[in-house]
Structures are given as C-alpha cells and as structure tokens.
C-alpha cells in the first residue's frame, strides 16, 4: 500500500547546526563612504570563531540588527584579507539599513555567513578581467578585485571601470587611491556630469566602456550596478563582441532565510540565495524573465 517512491521521513540528527542562529560579532570600525553608504568592519566573537571563518569572493551574508531585522549583503573583503575583520558595505534604503547606519564601533551585530555561490575565480585564471561597477555595485566586485590583486600572477590584464553620479557618490576612497597608483591594473573612474576638480572621465558608464573598447579576446567582463546601467552595459559589451558566457553579474532579491527555504528569491526553479548571487548572462538567458 505504501508508495515505494515516497521519501523517508527526515529525522533530526542531534548536533545539526542551526542555520538561523547568527554568529555574534563586534563592529570594529565604521567607514562613511558616501552620504548613504557606510562600510562595517566586523570581527566574529568567541575564541577561534573569526579565525575559522572562511568564505569565497562573491558570497553573501545576513546582518542582524536585533529588534529590527536581518538583511542580505555581499561580503566585500576577500578571504585573503580577513585577519582583522570581514567587511560589508551597506546603502541606506530600508529599515534594517537605517538601523545599521546607526551602529558604531563596539556595538554587537549578528552575522549569518557565508551564503550563496561565488565568482568562478579559478576558471578565470590566465584571463584578462574587466570590472564594470556602478554605485553600490562596486561592493561585490571589490572582493574579487582584491582577491585577484592578492593572487596577481594568476590573472592577465586587470581593468576596472567604476562610476557613480558624482565624485561624492564614489565609495572606497583608500582603495581608489591605491588602484589608480598601481601599475598592474588599469583604473578608469567616471562620473555622470562635470564637477570642479575632477580629473577623470565624465559620462555614463556604458558610453565610457565603449570608448575604452576592451577586447573580448580571452577576457571576462564582470559587471554590477543598478538594473538600468546593467541593461546598457550589456548592449555595449555585445557591440564590443563579448559573448553572454563571458559576462558575469551578481543579482539582488529580497531574501529572508538565505538558505533556499523561505521561497521568495526564486526565478523559476533557481534561488538567488543559494544558486546565486553570481550568474553569467548565458545562465540568465536560460532562466524565466523575472528580474
């Protein structure tokens, strides 16, 4: 009578890690990046916990402000630089991010991480890499860029095009200074309109990208930013001859559990929280159109 195809009733095995329980962490430092973006440097509490923490570039985490809630952000410091802290950059947009922006050094915070997939940085070895970031979209790419700079010999030519509305909207001031100085990468910065004292490019990211005109030969383009920017960056990359499997992006969705259960971040049968956030445009073209 029993259906032989039926799955056996799952059982709880004592000692199974509770995936909803955050690590408690201490805010080590808060960096004000722009008028609405702050960077939070966190160290996980408990003996050996921070040291044991391991993640890959592109993976995300959930930050908790207890009493307000939990939201998803990318871990934007690379595993090669986690001795002192792991870092998240958050744009103030809703309730949790507003509460986050009120935190200061010494405050306690909850962290559930790492989550999701990562950039396929091994498959990118030996290739030229062209990063195209707009606004807060620079955050996920920062992790991979720093990781590649820390493993510089593994990669070909590394270029970065990073833009924002105005000079005041660009994050990561210290990094930018370093990136501009380095002779092992090309850094292009752009803003939408002329501003006093601005010595870099002016113009929308897709236009500047076309003018730079990177060759698609043995190159991977990695782009992240607002949807409207992505749309036109894709058109520009197409014109330059990049194929959909050479273009990588990270997606955002409203998430709650972060572990593929709560059911809200799906695009068809893919869950952005566990199957993403990193996708190639080749992969996205095979998914239902519901971004």
């Amino acid at each position: 009578m029993a259906n032989e195809n039926a799955t056996p009733t799952p059982t709880y095995e004592p000692g199974t890690r509770n995936p909803y329980m955050p690590y408690v962490a201490t805010v080590v430092e808060v960096v004000t990046e722009t008028h609405n973006i702050k960077t939070f440097r966190l160290r996980l509490d408990g003996e050996g916990v921070h040291e044991a923490f391991d993640h890959k570039p592109g993976q995300t985490g959930q930050l908790s402000v207890f009493g307000v809630g939990e939201s998803t952000f990318v871990i934007n410091s690379p595993p090669t630089r986690k001795d002192k802290y792991i870092q998240f950059s958050c744009m103030r947009a809703g309730e949790v991010t507003t509460a986050l922006h009120g935190l200061q050094a010494g405050d306690k915070i909850g962290v559930r991480a790492p989550m999701g997939n990562s950039f396929d940085y091994d498959a990118m070895k030996g290739k030229d890499i062209f990063f195209i970031g707009g606004g807060i979209g620079m955050a996920p790419m920062r992790t991979l860029l720093l990781y590649m700079l820390d493993n510089r010999k593994d990669y070909g030519k590394i270029s970065l095009l990073y833009g924002a509305k105005s000079p005041e909207d660009l994050s990561f001031a210290e990094d930018r200074e370093d990136w501009l100085k380095r002779d092992d990468m090309n850094t292009y910065l752009t803003i939408d309109k002329e501003a006093p004292g601005w010595e870099h490019k002016v113009g929308l990211i897709p236009h500047v990208l076309e003018a730079i005109g990177p060759s698609p030969e043995n190159c991977v383009a990695i782009t992240c930013g607002p949807p409207i920017m992505i749309k036109f960056v894709l058109q520009a990359l197409n014109k330059l001859g990049f194929k959909p499997d050479q273009i990588v992006t990270t997606l955002e969705k409203r998430m709650k559990c972060g572990i593929g259960i709560c059911g809200r971040c799906n695009i068809g049968g893919k869950y952005v929280c566990i199957d993403g956030p990193v996708f190639t445009f080749e992969q996205l073209s095979q998914m239902p159109n519901e971004l």
């Binding site: 009578m1 029993a2 259906n3 039926a6 799955t7 009733t9 799952p10 059982t11 709880y12 199974t16 890690r17 509770n18 995936p19 909803y20 329980m21 955050p22 408690v24 908790s64 207890f66 009493g67 307000v68 809630g69 939990e70 939201s71 947009a93 809703g94 991010t97 010494g106 405050d107 306690k108 909850g110 989550m115 997939n117 949807p227 955002e252 969705k253 409203r254 709650k256 559990c257 572990i259 593929g260 259960i261 709560c262 059911g263 809200r264 971040c265 799906n266 695009i267 068809g268 049968g269 869950y271 929280c273 566990i274 199957d275 239902p288 159109n289 519901e290 971004l291």
Partner: protein
Amino acid sequence: MNAQNKFISRAKLADWLKELSSRFEVWAPRKEGEGARSVVVYRPFEAEKGLELDRKPTESAKHTMFPRSETLFNFRRNLVEGAPSLELEEAADPAPRLVFGLLSCDARGFQIFDPVYNGSGTNGQAKDTYYLKRRSSTVLIVKSCSKVLSTCFCNWVGGGPASTEGADVLATEVQDGFLLTPVSERGAAVLDSSLLAATNSDMESAAADSQTKAAAALPAAPDLKESQSALLGKFDNAAFWQAESSKCLSCGACTYLCPTCYCFNISDEAAGYNGVRLRNWDSCMMPLFTMEASGHNPRTPKMGRLKNRVGHKFSYYPSLHGGRIACCGCGRCIKSCPSSVDIRRIVTDAIGFTETVGLKEQNNG
C-alpha cells in the same frame, strides 16, 4: 487478516487519545462555531470539546508541523562593564506530538516540505532544525477519506483517499469505529493499548471496500507530466496569465489553507533590551513578499504572483525534486477561494486539455 491491525471503537476513541496525551501533545480535528458558520480545524485535543471526524477539515494540518508563528531564538542586549553585550538563546525543543485524523492529502503535504527543509533537495543543503525536530517527534495517524468532494483531485498528483505516504498509522472508518493499520514502526508503537481491540474479517473487508469506493468516486486523473514545460512555455504570455488571474483577489487564502505552501517570513519583535526572532507564515500572493528596499518589485501585477504559485507547484518544484508535483490535491484553495479560481484549470489550460478533462468555469464575480 492482518494481525497487527487494531480496532478502536468511537466510544473509546476519546479515552485512547487521553491515554496518548500522557506521551504526546495530541492534536485532532474539531468543530468550531455553529451551523453554517462552523469550521473544522486541527487543535490540541480536549475531550470536552469533542472531535469532528465526519466533515473534512476546513484548514490543512500544516500548522501542526509548521506553526503559523514560531520563535527561532530569544535575544538579550545589555551593557557589561559599559560595553554592549548580546546573548542569543535558541527556542526550546518541541514536545513530542501526535496528530490524529489528518487526511491523507495533509500527510502527503509534509512530504513536499521534506526535501526542502532537510536540505537534500536544494543547493544550499541547509537543514531547518526547527522543522526537523518537530517532524522527527510527530506521529501522524491519517484518516482515510470516505467522502470525495467535487474539489478533490488527490489522484491527479499521485495521491489517493487512503494513501499511506507520510502516515505512521492509517485509520479507516468501519462500523462503530476505526480500523487502524500501522504503517511505520513508531506507528505500530502507538497501537499498543488495552483500549484497542483485535480486528475481525468483517472489519477488514469493510475497510478495504470503503477505500476502494472512495478511490472510485474520484474523477479520472489526467496526466500532468507536461505541466513543467507547459507552464514555463507560458511564462512570458501575459495574455494567458491576465486571463487566468482576472478573478484573483490576491487575498492569499489559498496559500494559508494549502498543505504544501511552505514560504515564511522572519521578523524581530523587541521590547526594551529583550526580544525574539520569529518565523511567520508568508504568502507569495502578497505584493510585499518580493518588494525590495529600492522599491523594485519583480512581481508587481497579481498575475505575476499567481503565476509563481502555480509555476512553483507544477513546474519549478517538480524540476528540482524528481518530477514530484508540489500539490497534494486537497482542493482547499478551490473550495475556499472567494472568487472561484481553480488551480486545476490553470494547469490544464496551460497544457491545453481543459476541454478533455471536463472542468467547468465557476463564476462568483
């Protein structure tokens, strides 16, 4: 005759459930409200409030395994020697539970949860410890259906009125009581009671008859294996979804009554320094379900939300879980929909054989 089968008379049923209450938190269906306003709901068993085993429960038994609201952990914030401190305390383990009289469709509903909540069927492979603790410690006594409603379609999705999938014991109504068939080991263990009697051949054949009759009363089941590709094929067909969702009110009644809708929200409640992190049922019919902080919402029109609900059950979930359809055919979403949206019809329309299946459009609008 099966020596392991037992008989419980209607007269002794409450006593048996009372006896089981010493080992389990017993839940069973009972009637609330009177006359046309009454509903049948699963509640913790209280002998004086009676049992309702003749009418089909209005709601599913989902909340017996997956509470409408549950505490994940408590938090306490404080200052220790002037520095902020934080303590997290996980919610206590649930007490062992026994659900008596849930329908076979309700029990199969938990099997839709299982591969998602135990991580075996997801890339994340995370184990939902809250669900698994309750699932491991809950005994399910399924009552086989003797009445088939016009909204029932369990046989379309692999079930049947006396399906034992997910059951620990199957209870089938016979003269003056129920014949109890153990399905699992823990099911057999709860049948060890002096209140239960041995069965006789009349009971055995009456039970088999009733099961056969109920199965025969269901309309013929169409083959839904094309639903996966058919629904994906209709994904960008706005005219199709506009027509299918025109009556939908986005009220979410279907999701709350559904034994297989497993989506939830997580939120905090705090008073002063202390608070709780809660998990609450959520519904993909609600616009806020996917609303991002930027204001962007990938499912703004209601047709996008209805498309996700039907698509998840009949296409996305089956594509991830070996073809299994994430619907148990209980028909509550059809029966209780204020505007008579019929999920069967959406699926058969997508496949293109509604006429053959013979479903009629209901219109309360």
